[in-house]
Amino acid sequence: MPMRFAVAIAIMLGLATAAAAAATVTVVQKGLALDRSSMSVAKGDRITFTNDDDVIHNIHIFGPGSDDNVDLGLQKPGKNLSYRFDAAGSYRVRCNIHPSVKMSVTVN
């Protein structure tokens, strides 16, 4: 019984540690541009994209495979969208509507 209890505690601690390690980074979308051109995150981290413009955006994430992509859909002014990067590799982020809204993301 003490052995089972110790394992359960260890698993819970492990989960809690993993949850604490997963970070959320905010990328500001303003002036039809992102506030950075590249960034690195750890696997499991989440990026939140703001829309601080007065027009709609449409974040589209490409990668890590050549055919992998996720369209986050239309994003109205003032709304946030987020995406969790679960696989390691290189990603490209861009707005379907505004070609100047783009950045690269490296997931380690």
Binding site: G31, L32, A33, D53, V55, L74, P99, S100
Partner: protein, 485 residues
């Protein structure tokens, strides 16, 4: 044509208005097309083809409000792409959209990207023009439907888009194929930096250019067709518009260096006629004309400053229109410099105030064919320089005052230029205020926009004369409406 304006201005149904317009236009055209030979009649009715397309667009306008163009395709208000919330002056995003082949979109299916515009106006010149400002118009104070246009403007396929404009010119009473720019664009990387590349097929050198400092989309964006204009202009300054067909390739590397190269081929007289042009009214050529363009750009997005410095040029053998050289060929080479500066006071608001300035200097050399020297009596070599500088400030994308200084000067030759003293020199200023109520994020009619403008052109010299220049000064009041189907 004023009858058509009357009928269009009434709040009748689109179908009724279209039927009336069709009836009036058919009546206007019938005498011109009857009585010719079969081939002439075919050519004559072919001129009506673009108009028929235009009318077909009008006919479906009731349901057509569901059909899109650029704004509907992207879900963006006009002000996102255009300084002053109305075309054609582009913002940095508007340039990006054009360079990416008009394909950026919101992912929804909006059907065919069709749009319709109408330009109506009133022109007052300082001195009446004897014989009328144009056939069918009074010597002064004329109302006109300048243009009725239908556009295919938007994505054709992934990475492929187009801008195709069909006009009915209400002053010349002529249907014609106007500007065309169909392009494909893609992206890559070179030297670790982004590379945008594309190909374009177009019919007007500089119509494919994304900066408003080159001639095709330069200020003024509309101008009276019923006021006198200086006679001399360089080849690239509209001299080849819709009279050539060309293909080219362009690249933008690292959002810094823009390179483009095109080659144009002159259209034959029957082709020009079929497309609504009058062959002898402008330059004709059977030559291939190479065109090149280079520009350095720098966008300071966070502070809202945008700068472009560039050069462009074209060269080829042409026969000037209007019998200027009695049909003899002239070798023309145009080399030009241009610059664009824009300041966007708050880049996160498409309705923020925007300062915009453009400048261009075109230097043309013209060498007359040796066999034409004796018959024309003209000098063998001429030069012609055109310079323009304009500044505008758009308040809240609603009220946009603009001012431009323009100057053309060149070799005086009484046997080459048909001006009273043989001088091609003209200069003057344009003052304009435009008002655009809609085209912003909170506008009540996302499918519609209009531009009301008053423009005054003051000439300091005109066709070589200072003394009589002022008689050509004119006021131009215009109403430009746009409906995105």
């Amino acid at each position: 044509m004023p009858q058509i304006l009357f009928y269009l201005s009434r709040r009748t149904t689109a179908r009724f208005a279209t039927a009336r317009v069709s009836h009036l236009l058919a009546r206007a055209y019938r005498p011109r097309c009857d009585g010719f030979g079969l081939s002439d009649r075919l050519v004559c009715w072919m001129r009506l083809l673009p108009l028929a397309v235009l009318l077909a667009g009008s006919l479906t306008s009731g349901a057509a409000l569901a059909l899109p163009s650029f704004a509907i395709q992207t879900g963006q208000p006009c002000a996102a792409c255009h300084i002053g919330a109305f075309g054609p002056q582009l913002t940095p995003y508007g340039r990006d959209f054009k360079l990416h082949a008009y394909t950026a979109n919101d992912g929804k299916d909006h059907g065919l990207p069709l749009a319709f515009t109408a330009q109506t106006s009133f022109t007052h010149t300082q001195q009446p023009q004897s014989g009328g400002a144009a056939p069918g118009f009074k010597p002064n104070d004329n109302f006109a439907i300048d243009q009725l246009s239908v556009y295919y403007a938007g994505q054709i396929a992934p990475k492929l888009g187009g801008f195709v404009e069909l006009n009915y010119d209400g002053v010349a009473q002529q249907a014609l194929l106007n500007n065309v720019d169909i392009r494909y664009a893609s992206e890559a990387e070179i030297f670790g930096q982004d590379l945008l590349w594309g190909v374009t097929a177009n019919n007007n050198p500089t119509v494919q250019d994304p900066w408003n400092s080159t001639p095709a989309w330069g200020f003024p964006y509309n101008q009276s067709a019923l006021a006198p204009t200086p006679m001399a202009s360089t080849l690239i300054d509209g001299g080849l518009g819709q009279r050539v067909a060309g293909v080219g390739a362009y690249t933008l590397w690292n959002d810094l260096l823009y390179l483009e190269s095109d080659v144009y081929k002159g259209l034959t007289a029957p082709a020009l006629t079929a497309l609504g042009q009058v062959p002898d009214d402008g330059s004709q050529t059977n030559d291939f004309l190479p065109y090149a363009r280079v520009a350095l750009i720098k966008d300071w997005n966070k502070t809202g400053h945008h700068l472009e410095l560039g050069a462009y040029g074209i060269s080829g053998n042409v026969v000037p229109g209007g019998g200027q050289t009695l049909g003899f060929t002239v070798r023309k080479t145009d080399l030009a410099l241009d610059a664009t500066y824009q300041f966007i006071s708050n880049p996160s608001l498409v309705t923020s105030d925007r300062l915009s300035a453009h400048a261009t200097l075109i230097h043309e050399t013209a060498k007359l064919a040796s066999d034409g020297l004796a018959l024309t009596g003209a000098l063998p070599d001429h030069w012609l320089d055109t310079m323009r500088v304009d500044v505008s400030y758009s308040f809240a994308a609603t009220v946009t005052p603009s001012v431009q200084y323009f100057r053309t000067a060149g070799t005086a030759d009484i046997n080459y230029w048909s001006t009273p003293n043989g001088s091609p020199n003209s200069d003057g200023m344009i003052l304009e205020v435009a008002y655009v109520p809609w085209g912003k994020p909170d506008s009540p009619f996302p499918n519609m926009n209009l531009r009301l403008a008053v423009q005054y052109i003051s000439y300091f010299s005109f066709d070589g004369s200072h003394a009589d220049a002022g008689r050509n000064n004119n006021f131009y009041f215009s109403l430009w409406t746009a409906v995105k189907f």
